[in-house]
């Protein structure tokens, strides 16, 4: 008998006790929401009906209780629950309020802004349109990994020579095409204001035709981005790892490094470099908010009993090529002989 055996025995016994009397019946769950008798024997043509049945049942129950369950075609995003008494819906992050929703409403998150401070959601009162809410207003069902979206802000388009007549055109911009596989792209309407030249007699040109055939003019050129990203709060877990030859469940061979990186526009990459144990630059992966992480290790070739400390220097960069201050953290790598686990 080992410690592992004893823990396994007691934990499994406790789990069996805790789970006794469980009567979750998956087939019953789907049957009574409009599906066929048995999912395992249903004809193929019934699958979409079953999915529709689940969705319809969710909407039905949700409608009665004031929330909306996950729609079948929204599998790429995440359902969330409104976490505050009342919150405003915005047309864009830090934009104008367009409506309200209330505690307990169920919403569907399909994207977020670059800062991580705003979620793009389906409008709970009109699922065919999208709105934005502060992330603190909703409580996602699961860890969210939704794509970064830009808000389709209204564009003020000025045509040279504009003076007298103003014609308002409506154009459509498709956003969010990469958000959810199998989902119809969300379409929002942007209002584009344009004016006809002063030389055109008012009323002689059919409304909309002249602006529609005139190429839009970009009014200004953006100043170059010279602001450097900021990297901070480097961390690692665990502090000490072991040579790859250790092969012991109690002695980890890799360490996950994390760093917070921000930029006035957007951080496009974070790289960690180190010297010593066969190091080469390694790219970090973006996580939630402004967090980036990378796993270092396993390392091999350390003699038994040998200890080494590697220092990883981390730098963030943006699309303009600006690089951040360098921050660093260290990990101790032990030879296999030091594993006492």
């Amino acid at each position: 008998m080992t410690l592992d055996d004893e823990l396994r025995r007691r934990l499994q016994e406790a789990a069996d006790q805790a789970g006794s009397g469980t009567a979750i019946d998956f087939s019953k769950l789907v049957n009574q929401t409009g599906g066929p008798v048995s999912p395992s024997t249903m004809p193929a043509s019934s699958v979409s009906r079953l999915l529709g049945g689940l969705g319809a049942a969710g909407l039905l129950v949700g409608g009665a209780l004031g929330f909306t369950l996950l729609r079948p075609d929204d599998s790429g995003g995440s359902a969330a629950t409104v976490d505050v008494q009342q919150y405003s819906l915005y047309d864009c992050p830090d934009g104008a309020a367009t409506g309200s929703a209330y505690a307990g409403d169920r919403v569907f998150v399909i994207g977020r802004d670059e800062s991580g401070g705003w979620y793009e959601i389906r409008d709970p009162r009109n699922q065919s349109s999208v709105v934005w809410v502060p992330t603190g207003a909703v409580n996602p069902d699961e860890v969210i990994d939704v794509p970064v979206h830009e808000c389709a802000e209204p564009i003020e388009l000025i045509v040279a020579g504009a003076e007298t007549t103003t014609t308002v055109l409506e154009t459509t911009t498709t956003v969010g095409q990469t958000t959810v596989p199998g989902t119809t792209p969300v379409t929002t309407k942007n209002t584009t204001k344009a004016t006809t030249p002063a030389t055109t007699p008012q009323g002689t040109t059919p409304q909309g035709t002249t602006p529609a055939t005139s190429p839009p003019t970009t009014p200004t050129t953006a100043a170059p981005d010279t602001t450097k990203p900021i990297a901070s709060s480097p961390g690692r877990s665990p502090d000490t790892i072991y040579d790859a030859a250790t092969d012991n469940v109690n002695c980890p061979e890799t360490s996950t490094l994390t760093v917070t990186a921000t930029d006035n526009v957007a951080v496009t990459g974070v790289t960690g470099t180190y010297s010593g144990v066969g190091g080469s630059p390694k790219a970090f992966t973006k996580g939630a908010g402004n967090t980036w992480s990378a796993t270092f290790g396993p390392f091999s070739g350390l003699a038994a009993g040998f200890n080494s400390t590697i220092t990883i220097v981390i730098v963030a960069r943006d699309a303009a090529g600006n690089t951040s201050n360098a921050v660093q953290t260290s990990v101790t790598v032990n030879g296999a002989g030091n594993c006492l686990g």
Binding site: L3, L11, A18, G19, K28, V30, A44, E253, G297
Partner: protein, 181 residues
């Protein structure tokens, strides 16, 4: 206990949905009690465990067009994350789902006394360590499958397991042979 659920991409969506439903049914038939127990040990709440598991089952089925390498580990992680993120169905919603096929049977009283020392030791563990320890010791998931399901490196899981094992041994006053100190 570990099960594989790799769907051939050449299958049509209908076949994939049927296959996934059958896999979930088989999984539940054999492992429902233990996985609900495992989730209860992780969350400390039997009702939350069952609600979270039901939600995870539906999600697993809705994603029938996506391969899930380790179905049991995936369901456990999704269900656990449901609870970790603060998700909890309202009483009204739970009642509504109960009417359309949720849990039906009342909890069965156990003939054994609960292992209070073990429960206390589990409660003293950080949540992540508790989750990994339960997946490993109760559900017999390998380090690799836990790491895959959690989306972390094998080494991270090894570290969490090592810490959990040490904490449990200290709290339960067990030596390396599993005997009382």
């Amino acid at each position: 206990m570990r099960r594989r659920s790799v769907l051939a991409t050449t299958d049509g969506p209908a076949e994939a949905a049927t296959q996934r439903a059958a896999e979930i049914e088989t999984f539940m038939e054999h492992h429902a009690q233990r996985i609900v127990g495992a989730l209860t040990l992780i969350t400390g709440d039997r009702n939350a465990a069952e609600d979270a598991l039901q939600d995870a089952l539906v999600k697993a089925w809705q994603r029938h067009d996506q391969p899930i390498e380790q179905l049991s580990a995936w369901i456990t992680v999704v269900a656990t994350n449901n609870v970790r993120s603060g998700w909890r169905r309202s009483n009204a919603e739970a009642r509504a789902l109960g009417k359309v096929g949720g849990r039906a049977a009342p909890e069965q009283p156990s003939s054994r006394e609960p292992d209070e020392a073990l429960h206390a030791a589990l409660r003293s563990l950080p949540e992540r360590e508790r989750q990994v320890a339960i997946m490993h010791y109760v559900l017999d998931e390998s380090v690799a499958s836990i790491a895959d399901a959690l989306g972390v490196a094998d080494g991270t899981v090894k570290t969490l397991l090592h810490r959990a094992r040490h904490h449990l041994a200290v709290e339960l006053r067990l030596n390396d042979e599993g005997a009382d100190l």
